[in-house]
Subunit: 447 residues, 2 copies
Amino acid sequence: MSQDSDKHELKIGICGLGTVGGGTFNLLRSKHAELTRRVGMNLNITHVATRNPADSLKNSGVKVSTDVFAVANDPGVDLVVELIGGFEPALELVLKAIENGKHVVTANKALIAVHGNEIFAAARKKGVVVAYESAVAGGIPIIKALREGLAANSIQWLAGIINGTSNYILTEMGENNRDFPDVLKEAQAKGYAEADPTFDIEGIDAAHKLAILAANAFGTGLDFDRVYTEGISHITTSDIAYAEELGYRIKHLGISRITEQGIELRVHPTLISDQTLIANVNGVMNAVVVKGDSSGSTLYYGAGAGAEATASSVVADVIDIARSNRESCQQALIPPLAFDKLQGEMRILDIEEIESGYYLRIPAKDEVGVMAGISQVLTDYGINIEAVIQKEPGYDESEPNIVPVVILTAPTVEKNMNVAIKAIEEMSEVAGKVTRIRVEHFDGENE
Amino acid sequence: MSQDSDKHELKIGICGLGTVGGGTFNLLRSKHAELTRRVGMNLNITHVATRNPADSLKNSGVKVSTDVFAVANDPGVDLVVELIGGFEPALELVLKAIENGKHVVTANKALIAVHGNEIFAAARKKGVVVAYESAVAGGIPIIKALREGLAANSIQWLAGIINGTSNYILTEMGENNRDFPDVLKEAQAKGYAEADPTFDIEGIDAAHKLAILAANAFGTGLDFDRVYTEGISHITTSDIAYAEELGYRIKHLGISRITEQGIELRVHPTLISDQTLIANVNGVMNAVVVKGDSSGSTLYYGAGAGAEATASSVVADVIDIARSNRESCQQALIPPLAFDKLQGEMRILDIEEIESGYYLRIPAKDEVGVMAGISQVLTDYGINIEAVIQKEPGYDESEPNIVPVVILTAPTVEKNMNVAIKAIEEMSEVAGKVTRIRVEHFDGENE
């Protein structure tokens, strides 16, 4: 296949030259020779669209437009790289590129999570590839692992730290005993968090990524609307300290699991044993554990964001398409969501249907019998207590009259836990809302 | 591509029905429907060769031979899965299958490491695929990650725990303070180690895998003969305890790094910070860290052996070939060693040329000035001391007159360290051989 490789060329159009777009442009240009050596064909940028073209582009030999649709409609472009982000005009752009028979590479997780079903159907009709490795976990080739490397497996569950901002904040809170607002401010100053951090800290970004991971794991379509999503803004440094005392870390996880009843899709803070590898993934780093029925547990770790790491996944997608885009072979080889034929409709479980262990922090009054009362309520609902921490009154300086009672429970159905918590909050010995964080015990040994 | 998927079929011949072969047979048969849904084509076993055919095979509808070449010569086989192991007749079998225009999937790490260059050249000439994901790190899709997922990167280095037996032994020695021979015996009883454990504990198995990983990382051919190989049989529980006191774990690593002088290829016990993820990979598990210039450090973790995990990688290779083997597209798309055009001759560094930090355990006599003398020798050779542990005489009950002096040095060239060690061993205050273990500081943060 290499004999005539010099005659071959893949003509690339890039839409958007922001952080990731600029990184992609630079990577493709600076490594042109090495990439040709890898692929056996030239990866040439022929056209870019950017709102404010830099002067340096003028002499680059690349066509420059301000309108992204000029790239999607350019007959001199085989593959459109969509890096403008957001829904509009990104969706229209991607559909136009597909309509024109061009392959598409995108890093746009929101677009894929929300409009992926429509996009993949259009791509299939046209026989073109829509690749999106960079949309999940930046520089980690997790989509490839899920839909190719682990393709012989029935995936049982996956769990990932898939939002670097949240992981950075939780790590800093734990390691340096700093409050959430304080760390958030620093993360914003360092560029780890946006000016409006809602997407990251409320779990929406992670929910986009989880929807994509789960669709690939289980061969369902994308079900972003059904992801249960809970952020980290209610986690306190004392929760982190209590968890540590019990041998756990608090991580913001995206979890998806197939059960007899249906598929779990949930994003929330989670206590996990400090003996697991994923509990030791700190700072802005990402990691995903995937449990296959044959492979057992596998873990993938790396940078979840950043111009270079994300660009490296964008270009890996470009290389995949180039490798399968020779003249004799111009079709989509790898199904976009891992399965050539998707599952029929699968039931997504409501969060009340899932089973989990729970960490409960209960603001009790300093009264005789409070612990006995709480234990009785849990027993009434058939919930076993696995561990308890009760500190002396005044332990928390900000609430000197409160005795914090921390309880770790055995797994129970969430609906049952909800009524138990309501009953505890109604006790006269309890002074306020119960904090509840789910606990996961992964069934591998060392994840 | 799916409209006529039912008409498509990949006809698979399996040579060898041992542990992995049996696992592969069962996986392909039991998951036939799910795999068809993934691939959009039927993966059918049409012929197996095994020395002692089980009765159950008779009614399986599969042709059964005792001669593996019957499979390689069968026109009713598109793809030969070689799971007989060893060099002969495996090499001849693989070359015959290629000659007959059949794709090959193999788990045979020794065969690929030693004869890969010849095999890949033959496959290229014939336009068929030789896939070997299962040859390295069992169920972890590390070959795919290296040559596809990270294809946009210039790989800078990689380091892996790629022999589960050695990792199990070192983990047990450290966690339970048990001696090497004792743990080895248990590993043999549990089936983690062979009756003749040489391949595993002397690092040969790891060297096979490292040669394959490095070839994929750097686009060189395979250079198994040039891998520096050192096993774990000289590691003592006191080395593990001293390392722990200094904040390190001892892991048996395969390391390959590209430097201005050439490529490092080495397998040996290594001290790594206990704060890294890879230091916390325990028992029989495997993990590989890959540092790309764009992606940064990424880590891949999972089961390195076992029938099911290995079979899952064998079948993933089968699926890759099936996906790219449709009528309109019958060529090898992914170069077998990551690069379409391999590097020209690259220099492999001799172990004396590498730079490393060192852990030294020196059996000193209980005499005045011994520490000063040792320090002076190291200073004479320009070697900086980073940490020292000196215990009181009698600390090691088996050698009551010896004062073990443990030193951690800054990085120096190995050749320089070798002469310094020789000088130390010649000191009258030193009672015997110096134990030397290399120390690695990976330049990522959390590997």
